[in-house]
């Protein structure tokens, strides 16, 4: 009986150590750029693709006649950052050649669905707040299209 207790204590100790070991690999505080940022007023953007927040926040601001939305610049194939090619009016991913049209909808290459769009909202002062940790997707395979949900775009 005593032997069992002691072995139990040893296994328990080792088990707890194992759990501690696994938890060790998940840091709490992260030094990553904030996923929530403000991009200014709707009037700051003209029709088309704006790249001024691409390098800093991985986002393209797309202004159309009736709406503004933000494309999260991550290729839906394996996660590289595509390039906007104004001369050909398309996004092209350098990794495996996925191509997206000027709205971020895939039309060539291995990408399975259009690029995701980030959550957008207007704050009390009228500035647009973007949150790239909350993404809306359009996945025809799953029969899901969130591009027209509230927060996926701003009507202007």
């Amino acid at each position: 009986m005593r032997r069992r207790v002691i072995w139990g204590m040893i296994y328990g100790y080792l088990g707890i150590n194992l759990l501690m070991f696994l938890r060790f690999f998940f840091p709490r505080a992260l030094y990553e750029p904030n996923t929530i940022f403000n991009i200014g007023y709707p009037a700051d953007f003209s029709i088309g693709i704006d790249q001024r927040f691409l390098m800093t926040n991985r986002a393209w601001v797309v202004r159309e006649p009736d709406r503004i939305f933000v494309i999260f610049a991550r290729c839906t194939h394996l996660g590289c950052t595509p390039e906007w090619k104004p001369a050909e009016n398309k996004f092209k991913c350098p990794c495996h050649g996925s191509g997206y049209d000027s709205e971020g909808v895939n039309f060539e290459g291995p990408a399975p669905r259009p690029m995701d769009r980030a959550k957008v909202a207007i704050d009390p002062t009228g500035k647009i707040i973007v949150d790239t940790s909350k993404l809306f997707m359009d996945d025809p395979r799953a029969g899901v299209n969130q591009f027209n949900d509230t927060g996926a775009y701003l009507p202007v």
Partner: protein, 312 residues
């Protein structure tokens, strides 16, 4: 009185001191002789015996002992089947792989003297190694070439083992260890690829870890991931990168995996792999060569072939 004093002193302190001095002279002379003899025959000195422990005269027992009682050699058998060294059969691929591992370890350690695993310095350190450090270019290129060649050699070794049936009884477990070592080699290659923090490495890790996102149960975008409450901030990709993006934490973790963790694990498995080769009867070779002297002709019976390996 004086004589008495003299006698007393002769056997007393002064006499003892004189005796000690004379004895000392003799001892020094003897020690000197010993030293000289030691120089002529270093193998007989106590210093040598303390370091090497076994005698080194040429007896079969000592030849075997010099391998068996040596901490570095004793993983290797004392005797090897004559046919095992048939390179037409094995290509020596396993040995080449191990040699390349040694080269990689050595060049890798030297590279570590000039590399800082930080986002600010990593890329520049590689440029520094290539252009400024004496022999840095050679070292870096050797490391990279050895890495590519080791992958190739590991595959060829696997092909050889398979095509020669050297995975069959009793070597099945060793085959499994070999596959594990292959995976470790590929992981070493992958983690090392990120370390220069150049475009090639950065995107390779992006793609690789994004694939990790699709792991069943443990990945955010994998099947049943949502069931276990996986988010981009606590799935297996997060654990690999130390964050949700490929950034400074990812570089440091790749460095630790590449330089310490995986080489340690690989060393343990390599020791096991070599040990199993030995215990399973040595490199499984082709049909042994028969020497005339080994064919025992018994009258009326078929010649009996003595297999050097003794394996069935």
């Amino acid at each position: 009185m004086a004589e008495e004093n003299g006698e007393k002193n002769g056997k007393g302190l002064f006499g003892r001191v004189r005796k000690d001095i004379n004895d000392l002279k003799d001892t020094i002379k003897e020690k000197g002789k010993d030293e000289l003899e030691g120089l002529k025959e270093p193998e007989k000195t106590q210093v040598f015996r303390s370091i090497f422990r076994v005698k080194h005269d040429e007896t079969p027992r000592n030849r075997a002992l010099s391998v068996l009682s040596n901490v570095f050699f004793h993983l290797h058998p004392a005797k090897v089947n004559r046919d095992a060294v048939k390179y037409k059969f094995t290509w020596g691929m396993g040995g080449i792989t191990f040699y390349l591992f040694i080269v990689l370890t050595f060049t890798g350690v030297l590279l570590m003297f000039y590399y800082h695993p930080s986002k600010v310095q990593a890329f520049r350190d590689i440029l520094y190694l290539e252009n400024d450090v004496p022999f840095g270019k050679l070292l870096r290129n050797m490391h990279r070439w050895a890495a590519h060649l080791m992958i190739i050699a590991v595959w060829l070794h696997m092909f050889r083992v398979f095509l020669t049936g050297s995975y069959k009884r009793p070597r099945e477990f060793n085959w499994c260890i070999g596959v594990l070592l292959m995976v470790l080699t590929l992981l070493l290659s992958f983690t090392g690829y990120l370390l220069p923090d150049d475009q090639l490495g950065f995107w390779a890790v992006t793609v690789g870890t994004n694939m990790a996102r699709a792991t069943p149960l443990l990945g955010t975008e994998g099947p049943f991931g949502a069931l276990l409450g996986m988010t981009p901030y606590n799935d297996v990709r997060f654990a690999l990168l130390g964050g949700s993006i490929v950034d400074a934490n990812a570089l440091l973790r790749a460095y630790i995996w590449h330089c310490i963790a995986i080489p340690l694990i690989a060393s343990i498995f390599m020791a096991l792999h070599f040990w199993r080769v030995r215990k399973d009867g040595g490199i499984s070779g082709p049909a042994p060569i028969m020497l005339e002297s080994e064919i025992k002709e018994e009258k009326g019976h078929r010649p009996v072939i003595l297999r050097p390996s003794g394996m069935v």
